[in-house]
Structures are given as C-alpha cells and as structure tokens.
Symmetry: C2
Subunit: 394 residues, 2 copies
DNA sequence: GGGGATTTGTAGTATCTACCTACGAAACCG
DNA sequence: CGGTTTCGTAGGTAGATACTACAAATCCCC
C-alpha cells in the first residue's frame, strides 16, 4: 500500500526540471540559456543553475558562439548535447536478424552491427547474437551508457523485462534476454514491444517531438500501434497495449492468424493486399506492396488505383476507430504504407476523416515517418531516454 | 513555444504532495499521520507539515482519538475530510431534466435539486434551469465552493468550456453554459462529457479509487467510454475521446444513428436489444432491458437466455477491442447492463476474455458500478476535484 | 501500582531548489 | 566613443522535505 508513487522531495524538482530541459534540447535542437529561459518562463539565472548541473554531468556542452547575425546585444552561447552525450545501446530483434547500435542523444547512430540468426533460433542463440552485436557496437563505450534498449516484435512487460509472447520470433518467449545483457554490460536494460519503441523513436527524434499525444502505426505484414498520451507511452497491463491489429472491425469476418475473426489485420495488412490483388486478378499481386501499387496507380492502371483506394480505406478503418476512442490529433505511419508516398498518405488521411464523426475531422492528421530504416533503433534508444529522463506530466 | 508546461518550483512540490495526501484520503478513508507516513515512505514529521497546511485550509480535520484496540503505543488521531470540506457543485444535464447537488469531499450528496425542461429546450432555457437548480442546491455554500462541475451528454472541450455537439440535448451546443454559471456563482466552472465524468466519479468515490488505469463504460441507449490512464482521464483533441460507441466493429454493418455503418452501438445498445428481441419474436421485446432479460433468463426462458448471451457477447466485442488496444486492467460498467446483475456481469467478463488474445485474458476484470444513480453527480464533483488537486503522474 | 516498551506527534536544524536583484561582458547603433 | 540591448553570473531570500531528538499516550508484565 503506497501513496501514489511516493511524495516529491526538493531534490526531485531538480531532476524533473533537468529532464524537461533535456527534452527541450531534443525537441528544438541547440538553444541558448536565454532562449530556454524565455520558453520556460523563468529567469536566465534559474536556467543557468539547471544547465550547469547538466554540463557537470557531461550531457550538455557549450557550442561555439553564434556568429553575429545583425541582432543587437551580446550573442548567446548555444548549448546542446555533445557528440558522445547521452549514449544508449539500441537493439532490434526481427525474424532471422539482430541489429545493434550505439546512439547518442542527438539521435545519431555512431556505430552499428548486425547478426543473422536462424528464423527458428532458440532463445539462447538469439541472446547470444544480441550480446555479440552489442559488444561490437557499444563495447568501447560500455562505461558511459545510460542504458540499453531492446525492441522486440511481440508482447513484453517492460517492468519485469519478460517477453510474454512473440509470433514472429517464438524463441524469445521466456528467454533470459534482459538478465543476460544486464549481467554482461552492467547497464540498465529495457525491453519493449517494437511498435511502442517506434513511437518513442518518433517522440524523441522524429515527428513526435514536442507533441504530448500522438499515435504511431506500424503497417505491413502485421499492424501495431504505439500510443503516446500526455507525454508517456501507454503500455497497459503486462505491456499488452497496442495490439490494434487484432481489434475486431469485421464481426464474423475472415479468420485471422491469431485465431480470431475479422481483426483489422485481416483487411489492412500486406497479406490482405496480396490476396485481394490476386482475387481482382491484378498482375504480380503476390509480391505487391504499397510502393509498387502506388507506382502502377500513378501510371494510369485503374484496377491498381482502385485497389490502392481500398487499401487506404481499410487502413483508415482502424485509424478512425482510434480517433473515435482516443482522438490523438496526430498519426505517424511506419512500414509498408510509407512506400506509397504522398498520394497514399493523403488518401489515408482523407479516408480516415471520412470515417470519423464530423466534428473531429479537422483534428485528424496523418504523417509518414521520416526516420526510415533507423526508426526501430532510434526507438530502442528512445526507450532508454524515456526511462532515464522521466517526465512527470503537468 | 513553451517548455513542457513550465518548470517545477519549490512551492509546486507542496501543492503536489498535498494533492497526493488528499487522494490518499479519498482512496482509503480516515488515516493517521503515522499511517500516511508509512504509506508514503517518509517520516511522520514531513506528513505533519503537509497536513498542517490542509488543516489550516479547513479541508482536513482531526477526528476523535480512536478507541484503544489492544495495540500498544500511543493511539493515532485519525484525520479526514470535515463534513463541509471540499465542497463542489455538481450538475448533470439529460434530455428533459437538469439535476444539481452539493457534494463534499467524502462523496456525500448534501443537497439536491432538479428541474424539468422541455426535451426540445433551447440553450437559454437549459442554462436558466441549471442556474436555478444550482442556487437551490449550493446557494448557501456559494463562498466555499472549490468549483462547479457539469456533466453533459455530448462532445465538449473542457479547456474552452464549449459544448461542441450533443445528440441528446441539441440545445446545448454553443450555449453560454460555463460563462453564465461562472458569472452567477463566481466559481470555477468545468464542463465535461458525461461518460468521462462517470469515470472521474469512480476514480474519486467508486471502484476506481487507488487504480491508476481503468475504463468506465456507459451502456444503454448509447455507449460511451471514459478512460483513466496513469491517473488522468483521456480527453483527446477538443475533448472528443471516448466515442467508443461509434467505433466500427461490423464493416458495412447496419446504419447507425450517427450516419455511419456498423458502429459498436448498432450491436450493443438497448436499441439493438429490443430490435433483435422483436426479430426473435420474444414477448415484450420493445420495452425490454438487461434487468428484465436477466429475470426471464433466470426463470428458465431459453430464448431470453440466448438473447442475453448475445447481448453480453456484443458488449464484449467493444471491451475486447479496448483491451487489445489499451489493455486497461479494469472495466467499470454503468447504465443498463448493471440491471442484469451478477450473472450478466460474469457473462460479459467471460465473453470479453474469450475475445482477447490468450495472454491478456487474466488481466480482464469487469465490475458493475456501485454508485447507482448518484454516479453522474459524483462524477461532476470528481471533475472539480481532479482539476483542483491535479496530480502529476510519477 | 509502577517501570519498561512501543507508538505517536512535534520541535529545531540541515539541505536542496528556484526566485529576485544587481552587475560585468559582448555585441550593435549613431 | 558613449548609449542601448542582450547575455550570463553571483549573492541573498523563501519554500519545502529530511533528519534527529524529545514529550506524550497507551499497553504489557512484574
């Protein structure tokens, strides 16, 4: 029986304020003390005290004075993360492969390493590959890591560090992933679902910067959602939130690979696209994706254009449901759909707006992620940053 | 451009800690300083300082010393809200009627008043009825109100105080509700959607006490959801979150009153129940509800039992979708379904578990609200408490 | 009946933090 | 070169909890 997460102590307010300043650096890039003070509505002296702590820790460094730009007054000294500040180890695990990286607080990937494993690899083999790739990417920086983040395709409980279920990489379930890496690197190790990691990547390094609420949507073979509400990612009981791909949108619809019927995935995944393309007798449907579909639709292929419309509309069904339920004002789409380009993005946005109640239409905005293939690794690093610099919402 | 909601100041930590202590009193009832200190993991001296501020404000009072109960040591003095502490005005607006009450921090309804208005009343008439009912319920306590909370059926933006849309009470849209009441009572006035208000009522005075995340589900003619995640209610952009009744669960299903197709409401509302009952040729279907259905099913009426099963299963479709998406560990059901009693509750819980992925089944718990007809008014009061005692999540 | 043990609530001091005011430093302008 | 503007910093003040020590109230046991 605890009182909501203990009480605040005077030194907590320092931690919180330092965290907020750090987030401001992530959101806005280099800033002078005076700029920070104006943003926060406090005096320059206060900001000076706060950043002096960060400078002592080596997280923040003074850049060279900005060249005079015609503005009167003493020019400010820009502050930002040093190139080796806020180092985090980042790992992504996918069927058949493991990737690791060393990421700094600027969101730069300083080192990368990957390993291939058998698609039917057991937990031991995967953990070994993770440790090996991490050693290659982060070995020299082991001492200065804030932590190591691991993004896993499947359900996992970040608090306990357990992987509870993973369709794509069954060997991971129950594997001593966190414990082993923690022992080997003597660093804090955090594991999370890959869709949520993508959301955290966007929050720290992408289009989610400065937004307190948004949804990140992974498309492709499966659909997963990472929700950020009030600045924090929603994990749910035992980390099982975000299985949006397996929400029912067609009661008594097609059988889904999860065993249930009419899941969103059954009408909005690559699997559906290819099957539907085949049914509509479109050439090359069995290897089709959003990119090739958009190409052909743009080239005047009418059946392709119609199929693209259906694909966007089916994706919009789930986005609309999310909007009705939670009304996050912003969607960041990852994965296959991004290949469809601006035309496809606009189509998804338009169809989503059409599918929500009229008064919330103006609030719907759909963007495609610009983090490309770095997204997953940045997400794993974001996991570490979010845990290290915990922000108490106002 | 602001730094996330300003920085924390030393005096903020007092506010936060006082708020947390207040929430502890709501969650656990009367507590001594020593009990609070143990819960919070701080010394008794610290708690003594915190509560002394609350005692000075008149919010908390020392009760009579507990009678010695065989435990050694000096007996503690229980502290709790005084009977006239934390007074809030509470208003609920429904088609044809307005209800107001004076509620204290204990969750007791000290005064009540109601007014009837025409179902086609315009904004002016409704606002007048609200003011009149409030004067009767809270007139004498006007000076000591923390604020006034108003629960409205429809979409409303709590920040701006605007009612943006209301199917049941169209006259409210755009009415100067908040401004008028604020002027008349010189108190802070907060308006929110009724489903979210129910959630806040449960959070402060019901089964939501002490839970950081849960979902409150209103059943009956329409379906609305109030989500509490991390201690805060989810409002979404312009307050439009919670329209779960209008999420698509049957693609291309029946036309819904909202104009779209296959909304959850089309298969899980009283309207569906009565139509389906008629279709199945069940006597008295046109006025049937969960209570009468459960009665007849319990009396051995097989068609009724089957219909009840379908009703529960259809409600479970939406709860399962919520679970897949957000995995709140706890559902508190209000409205018509509560009439179905324990049998119906167990049925909904069982069907929801059957409809979610296997690993999250143990996390699903469905409860019926025990706040009965007070729920809405307590929710309106909870709105005031939540705004007054803002809690920063850990 | 009385001493010891246990628990409760309250002083007083130390520590942490942001706030406020004032000041030197560095640029622009005329 | 002086005036103006802006930037960063130093010193004192105020608010809050942490810690230690102490008086008070009850039970237990001899």
């Amino acid at each position: 029986m605890k009182l909501n997460g203990h009480l605040l102590t005077p030194s907590d307010i320092g931690d919180v304020n330092r965290s907020r300043v750090i987030q401001a650096f992530c959101d806005h890039g280099p800033l002078t003390r005076a700029e920070l003070a104006r943003m926060a509505g406090v005096t320059r002296a206060t900001i000076g005290n706060i950043v002096s702590g960060l400078i002592d820790d080596g997280l923040i460094a003074e850049g060279p004075a900005r060249e005079p730009n015609g503005q009167v007054g003493k020019p400010g000294r820009p502050l930002w993360f040093g190139p080796r500040a806020g180092l985090a180890g980042a790992v992504t695990i996918a069927p058949g492969s493991v990737e690791a990286a060393l990421v700094n607080a600027r969101g730069e990937l300083l080192e990368r390493a990957d390993r291939t494993v058998g698609t039917d690899a057991d937990g031991k083999a995967i953990v070994k590959a993770v440790a090996s790739a991490l050693r290659e990417a982060c070995g020299n920086s082991r001492k200065s890591l804030l932590g190591i983040g691991i993004a896993v395709p499947g359900v996992c409980d970040t608090d306990s560090g357990e992987v509870l279920g993973s369709g794509p990489v069954p060997g991971l379930v129950g594997a001593p992933l966190v414990a082993t890496v923690e022992r080997g690197f003597r660093a804090r190790v955090l594991v999370d679902n890959d869709s949520r990691a993508l959301a955290l990547g966007e929050k720290w390094f992408g289009a989610g910067r400065g937004r307190s609420s948004f949804a990140s949507v992974q498309t492709g073979h499966g659909i997963g959602v990472g929700l950020v509400l009030g600045g924090a990612v929603v994990r749910g009981a035992t980390g099982s939130a975000g299985e949006a791909g397996h929400t029912t949108v067609v009661l008594d619809g097609e059988r889904c690979r999860c065993g249930r019927r009419g899941c969103w995935e059954t009408i909005a995944s690559l699997g559906w696209l290819r099957k539907e393309g085949t049914r509509r007798k479109i050439r090359g449907a069995s290897t089709m994706d959003a990119a090739s579909l958009a190409d052909r639709a743009g080239g005047g292929d009418d059946p392709a254009a119609q199929l693209m419309h259906s694909y966007a509309d089916n994706i919009a069904v789930g986005l609309a449901n999310l909007t009705q339920m939670l009304s996050p004002p912003f969607y960041i789409v990852h994965g296959d759909a991004v290949g469809g380009g601006e035309v496809f993005r606009a189509l998804i946005e338009e169809r989503t707006r059409a599918r929500v109640m009229s008064h919330m239409r103006p609030t719907v905005h759909v963007a495609f992620s610009e983090l490309d293939q770095r997204a997953a690794l940045l997400g794993a690093a974001g996991l570490v940053l979010s845990e290290t610099f915990q922000l108490t919402a106002t």
